[in-house]
Subunit: 267 residues, 6 copies
C-alpha cells in the first residue's frame, strides 16, 4: 500500500517559501556569537555543495533544546542559499496520516529535489517525523528506515543536495544511528546572560536599571520561552498594560516579571 | 483510513456552552486563594491572546489530583473569556471510537478554531483522550503525536488560540514530552483545612461546634470527594435524614460523618 | 467497526430479573455481621441516589476473594432496590465476542439506563469483562477506557444511576486507576469460624459434637468453597450417602470431611 | 468473525467414544495405589454431579508430568461414567485453526453438553488448547478468557456438567488463574519403584533376577517413557530380538536396557 | 485462512529422493565412532517402528553444532530405511511463505505419511522452520504449536511413523518444550583430532608429515567447515593450485593452511 | 501476499554494472596493506568458486565501521570477477516497500543468479536490508529468515555462487546468527596514520610540512569522513578557496583544517 500511498500525494506542495517564512514569524534577532557561528558554517556547507565535485550530498544536523531556534535557523539558511529547490518536511502538514503515506510524501520531496541541480531539504523536528515518544520508546521504524536510506543515497549524476535536520531529541536520534549518518552536527545553544541582554535591549521593555537583572534571570533560556515570558509580563499584574509597554510609555515591573518567570520555568 | 475517519465526523458538534455548563453542575463555590489565583492567571492568558501580536498560540495545562476541580475551572475560564469559539474536547463524546476517528475529531475542533479570530480549545482529561493506562504503560501514540503537533502549530495569520489542557496524570504527560509543549502549567490544589471550612460554611450542614473538626478531617481532600461524602453523611445512619438536613432542620451527626469518611478514603 | 458492532447488539437483553436470580441459586444464608453491614451500606447508597439532587451518579465496588459472595450480594441489592432498571453486565453473555462488540454491549446497557429515572448497572467480575490475565499482564484497553469514561460520565439531567462493580482482582483494578473512579469500595470477607458455624447450623449435616471442629477447619473459606466441600463430603467415602445425609438420617463423617478438605484447599 | 467461525464448525463431531478409546491404546495397567485413589475420587465426583442438587457444575483438574497417564485416566473416567454425553476437547482436532475458530469449537462442545442432562467435557492438554509456549510466555488470551468463563458458567436449570481438565503445565495454569477456577486438583504421579515393578511383572520381559534392578532404574518415570524404553530395549543390540522377547522365548539383556535408558533420560 | 492456505499447497511435492540426495552432495565419509553409533541407533529405531505393535509413533532429535552433519545423517537414515514414504520438510522450499501456509504444508506432509504403512518425516533445521531468531527471541508460535501437536499425535490404526528432527539450537527447542516431546535425542559431534585425521587421509591433500599437525589444528571442527577450509587452502596463496593438489601432484602448504584457518575460525 | 509481491517485481533490474560503478564514484585510491590483503583474499574466493567442484556456494562478509569502504570493495571484487551475473542488493532501490515485497525482490535476485553458471550477489548494508534499528532492537524477521535460508541453500547442480555481504553492525548480525552462516568474515579497517598519509599525498592539498600532522590527526578515520573533511577544509574559512586548492595554487590552512575536524568528529 506504499505505491497506493504515493498516489495519494498531491502533485505540488504549495509555495515552500511561505513555509520557510512561517518559521521566522518574528524575524531574526541577534542571538549571540555561537548562533552566528553556526549560521556561517551552515552557509559554508551551502557553498561546498554548490562548488564541490566530490560531495553531491552533504547532511547537517541542528540539535538543541526545545525552542532554541533550530527551525528558524534552518529556514534562514534555506532562504539565504538562493538554491532553486528548498523544501521543508514537517509533521505539521502530515497530521494523522498513516506511516506509509508519510514515507511516500518524504520520498516525494527527495525525488523532486533530485530533479533540481541544487537543492536543500529541511527535515524539521525529526523526532516528530518519526512519531517518537519517550515511553517505550516508540517510533515509526518504517519512516526511520526511509530516512536512514535517504540520508545516504547519492543524488543522480550532476545533482547536488544539502539536507538539514533539526531535533531536540539528539540522544534518541543517536541511539537509533541517525547521528552517524549526518556529515556534521551543530548544537544550537540556549541564550546566555549576555545573549539575553542583547535581545532585551532590542525589545526595549525594561527600565535601564532592570535590564541586567532581567538578563541574569534569563540565563540558559531558549529564545521561544523568552518571548512568551516577555509577553506575559507585559500584560501587567492586572492586565491591560501591554499597549503602554510596547509603545515605550511604560516599563515592565521587574517584580511581576520574576513572578511570571515562576509560571514559565519548570523545576 | 484517516481521511475516511474525517468523513465520519459530524458537521457540527452541538451547543458547546451546554458542554461547558455540564462541567459546573453545582455552580462554583469559593475554594480558597490558590484556586482564585490560578483563575486570575488563566484570565490574564485570555487577555494576552486577545491583545498580543507575538503570541497567536498560548497553551496552558491545569494539573492536579482527581476531582480537584480542573475541568470546572477550565470551563469557567472558557465561559468568562467571551471568545466566539470555545470548545471542549472530551473522551465522553468519543467512547468506543477508533483511534484515528478520535484524531480526526480532535483535528476538526482545531480546524474550526482556526476559522475564528479568537478561540479556546479545552483538552479535558488528556490522559483519557490518549487512552492512557498505567500498566505497560499503554496509550495511543497516534493521538499523542496529533496533540503534540497541534500544541505547537501556529494558527493561520490573524487568528489567535488559547489551548487549556487538564490532567490528573501529569507525571505521565511529562514523561512523553507533553509538559514541555505547554507554555505554562498550574497545579490545581486539593482543599486545605481552611478551604474546606469555607465550603462547609456555605453548605451549612454541620452544627457550629462540629465545623472545625469536620474541616480538619477534610484536609487535603479534592472538592469532588467532599461533596460525595457530605451527601452520604446527610442520609443519616438509618437513611431518610437528608431532607431534614438540607432544609436546615437537622445537622449531620459528626460520628456518622467520620464513619462515612472511612468508606470514602482509601489507604 | 464500533458502529457496526453497535448494530450487532440485540435490541432487548432478555429478562434481567432472571439474570439476577441466577446469581443466588441457593438463596441467601446469613453469613455474619460484616456481610450484613456491607449490604446495609449499599442499600443506603441506593437511597442516596434516589433522594439526592447532587449525586446523579454513585459508584460502588465490591471486592473480595473468589467465591466470597460478591455477585450474590450485588444481585440482592439490585433486587431489593426496586429500581425500574436493574441490569447485570457479565462476561458470560459475551463469550468469544470481539472487544469492540463487548464495548458496544456495555455502552448499550448504560444508554438504556440513562432512559430510566432510577437505574442500577452491575458490572460483574470486572477483570473478566476486561479480559484480564495476570501474565503480561494482559487486558483489553478498549474496554477499560470505555469503563473508565462510563464510570465518570454523568447521566442526563433528571436521571440517576448507581453502578455496582464486583472483582476478585482489586490489586489489578487499582493499578489501572479503576479504584479511584469508584466513590466507595467494600471488601466482601471470607467466612470466619463463627460465620461458618452459622452456615453449618442452617445446613444441619454434622453431628452436634462435630460442628465446632468443622467450623474451625472452615475458617477463612469463601462461601462457594464451603458449599462444594459439604457436597463432596456428603457423598460419603464409598458414594451413595448423600440422600441419607440431606434427609437428616445420617451425619457427615468428620474424618471423611477432613479428607475432602485436603482435595479442595490448595497450599 | 467469531460468529463466522461458529458456522465453520461442523454440525457433528464424530464418534466420541472412539476419541476416548484412542487415549488408552494399550489398555490400562495397574499403576499403583495413588493412581487408583485418584480414579476413585474422580468417580465420586461423577456421582456427586449425578445426585446433587446444589452442584450442577463440578470441575476437576488432573495435573502431572508429561506422559504420566492423565489423558488415559480422564478418558477412563469418561467411559466408566455412563453419562449420555462425554466429549474430549483436544488440540489434535484443531491443528492450524485460527484462535476464534478454536473458541467456537470449544463453546460448541459446552453448548451441546448443556443439552444433555448429564455430561462430561474433557479439556485435554489445556496448555496446548491455549497455544502456550514457555518463552514470553505466549498463549491465546481469547481462548483462555473463553475457558475461564466456561469453567464458571452454570449449566441451564436441570442440567449437570463435570469438566475434567488435564495439563502438564500446572505452574503456568496457576499463574493465569486457572487453578482457582477448578473445584479440585489431583496430581497424577510418575511411577515409583514398586509401581514400575508391578508394570514390569505384567509385561514379563525381564529375567526374574533382573526385575528389581530394572524397576529401581525406572523410579520416577512416567508410564509413557517406560513403554517406549521397553520397546527400544526389546529390539536387542543388533535388532531383530523383539519377537523372541515378546513371545517370552528370550529376556531383555539388562546391560542393553541400561544403555537404552541413557538415550531416553535427559539430564 | 488456514483452509485457504491448504489449497495453495501443490498436490505433489516432487521427488523426495532427490531432496534426500542433495543433503549428501559429497557422499558420506567415515567421521569416527560416535557418528557411526548414532547412525546405528537411529537404524534400530527404524526397525522398532517397523516391527513394534506398541509404538506406532517414534520421534528422534539430532542436535549439534552448525555444519556437524545432522541433515546428511538424517537423510542417510531415510534412504537406508527403505520405507515407502520418506519426506524431508525444509525451510528451503518454503522461503517467504506466510506462517499459516507453512503450517499447511507441514500438516500435508504428515497427512500423506499417515496414508503409508511405514513413513519417515525429517523436520530439517527445526529452528528455521519455526522462523527462530535469538533476539527477542522471536519465532512462529503457530508453527511451533502445530509441530508440538504433530509430534504427539498417533498415526491412524495400522500406520507407523518415525519423525527425525535436526537442530543446531537445542537450547531454544528445550526452552519451548520441544525436547520433551522427542522420544530420544542424540548429539551429533564435531570432529575430534582422530576423526579429522581419518577424513584428511581419505582426501589425501597433505604431505604425510603434515597430516598430524593439520588434524590437530582441526580438532573440534564441524565437517562442513573442514571441507570449506581444505578448498580454500587448495587454491594456494596465489590461486591456481587446486588442480595440482586434487590430482595429487602437489600438497597443500601447511603454512598457507594455517593462514586460511585464521579466516575461517571466529574467536 | 508473498506470491502477489513476486508479481510486483519488475522483470529486469536495470544495468547492474551501473549500480556497481556508483559505489566507487571517486575511483579507488590505495588505502594501505590491510585493505589490499582483503581484496586479494576475496579474489581468491572468486577463483575458488570458479574452479571448485565441492563448494558451489561460498559466502563472505565484509564488516567494518560506517564509511570504511566496504561497499566500494565489494563492488570492485564484483567488477574484477568477470562473472556473467553480478548483482547488488541494496535498500536504496527498495525504499518504502513492504517487507514481503523486499523478500520477493531478494529471492528474485538469487533465482536469477541460479540461472547463470557463475554469479556474485552483493548484499549491501545487510542491517539496512533487515530494517534494523538498535532500539528494541527491531528488524524484519521475515527478511532475516529469508536471508538465513538463502545463505545456506545450494545453487542447482552445475551453478556456482559467491555471496558478499557488507555491514557496519556486525555485533547485531552475530547476535541473530548471521555470522555463523558466512564461510569467512573480513574486517575492513579504518585508515591508520600511514594509510591516511598515502591518501593525502595522492590528493596533494596540504603543504609538504603539514602532511604528517594532518595524517596524524586523521588516524583511525574512515575513508568517507576523510573525503568529507578535506572538502570542507578546502572551502577555506571564508569560502571560495576550493578552486585554488584543487588546482594546486593554494594549500589547505592547517589551522582551519583542525577546526573542521572538530565539526566532523563526534565525542
Ligand atoms: N534569532 C531569532 N530572532 C528572533 N526570533 C527567533 C530567533 N530564533 C527563533 N526565533 C523565534 O523563536 C521561536 C522558536 O524558534 P524555533 O521554532 O525556530 O525553535 P526550535 O528550536 O525549532 O523549537 P522546537 O524545538 O520547538 O522545534 C519562534 O517563534 C521563532 O520565530
Ligand atoms: N469551585 C467549585 N465549586 C463548587 N463545585 C465545584 C468547584 N470546582 C469543582 N466543583 C465540582 O466538583 C466536581 C469535580 O470537579 P471537576 O470535574 O472539575 O474536577 P476534575 O479535577 O476535573 O476531576 P477529574 O480529575 O475527575 O477530571 C464537579 O462536580 C464540579 O462541579
Ligand atoms: N449469603 C449467601 N447465602 C447462600 N449462598 C450464597 C451466599 N452468598 C453467596 N452464595 C453462593 O455462593 C456461591 C458463590 O457466590 P458468588 O458467585 O456471589 O461469589 P463471588 O464472590 O461473586 O465469586 P466469584 O469471585 O467467583 O465471582 C454462589 O453459588 C452463591 O449462590
Ligand atoms: N494405567 C495405564 N496402563 C497402561 N497404559 C497406560 C496407562 N496410563 C497411561 N498409559 C499409556 O501411557 C501413554 C501416556 O499416557 P497419557 O497420554 O494418558 O499421558 P498424559 O499424562 O496425558 O501425557 P501428556 O502429558 O503427554 O499429555 C499412553 O500411551 C497411554 O495409553
Ligand atoms: N559423513 C560425512 N561425509 C562427508 N560429508 C559429510 C558428512 N556429513 C556431512 N557432510 C557434508 O558436510 C556438509 C554439512 O553437513 P550437513 O548439512 O548435514 O550439516 P548440518 O549439521 O545439517 O548443518 P546445519 O547445522 O548447517 O544444518 C554437507 O555438505 C554434507 O554433505
Ligand atoms: N579505496 C578507496 N579509494 C577511494 N575512495 C574510496 C575507497 N574506498 C571507499 N571510497 C569512497 O569512500 C566512500 C565510502 O565508501 P563506502 O560507501 O564503500 O563505505 P562503506 O563502508 O560501505 O560505508 P557504509 O558503512 O556507510 O555503507 C565512498 O564515497 C567511496 O567511493
Ligand atoms: Mg523546530
Ligand atoms: Mg476533569
Ligand atoms: Mg462473581
Ligand atoms: Mg495427555
Ligand atoms: Mg542441516
Ligand atoms: Mg556501504
Amino acid at each position: 500500500d506504499f505505491l497506493h500511498a504515493l498516489h495519494e500525494v498531491p502533485p505540488a506542495f504549495g509555495a515552500s517559501t511561505d513555509d520557510l517564512a512561517r518559521c521566522r514569524l518574528n524575524g531574526m534577532a541577534d542571538c549571540g556569537d555561537r548562533n552566528k557561528h553556526i549560521y556561517q558554517r551552515a552557509m559554508l556547507l551551502v557553498e561546498q555543495v554548490k562548488v564541490s565535485k566530490g560531495s553531491p550530498l552533504v547532511t547537517c544536523l541542528l540539535e538543541g533544546s526545545s525552542g532554541s531556534g533550530k527551525s528558524a535557523l534552518a529556514a534562514t539558511v534555506g532562504i539565504d542559499s538562493d538554491f532553486p529547490y528548498v523544501k521543508i518536511v514537517s509533521a505539521e502538514t502530515m497530521i494523522g496520516l498513516h506511516e506509509s503515506t508519510k514515507c511516500a510524501q518524504i520520498v516525494k520531496v527527495f525525488e523532486d529535489a533530485y530533479k533540481s541541480p541544487l537543492s536543500i531539504v529541511i527535515l524539521d523536528d525529526i523526532e516528530r517525523l518519526l512519531e517518537y515518544v519517550a515511553i517505550g520508546p516508540r517510533f515509526s521504524n518504517i519512516i526511520s528506515q526511509t530516512l536512514l536510506v535517504l540520508l545516504k543515497r547519492l543524488p543522480p549524476k550532476g545533482k547536488k543536495l544539502l539536507v538539514i535536520g533539526t531535533t531536540s531529541e539528539v540522544g534518541f536520534l543517536d541511539s537509533i544511528g541517525f547521528c552517524d549518518t549526518f556529515s556534521v552536527t551543530y548544537r544550537v545553544p540556549t541564550l546566555k546572560t549576555e545573549d539575553a541582554k542583547k535581545v532585551l535591549q532590542q525589545l526595549n521593555v525594561f527600565a535601564e536599571e532592570d535590564v541586567d537583572a532581567a538578563a541574569e534571570a534569563l540565563n540558559d533560556m531558549p529564545i521561544k520561552k523568552l518571548y512568551m515570558l516577555i509577553e506575559m509580563a507585559a500584560q501587567g499584574e492586572q492586565g491591560g498594560a501591554s499597549d503602554a509597554i510596547y509603545s515605550g510609555k511604560q516599563k515592565i515591573n521587574i517584580a511581576h516579571f520574576y513572578d511570571c518567570l515562576q509560571d514559565v520555568v519548570r523545576y
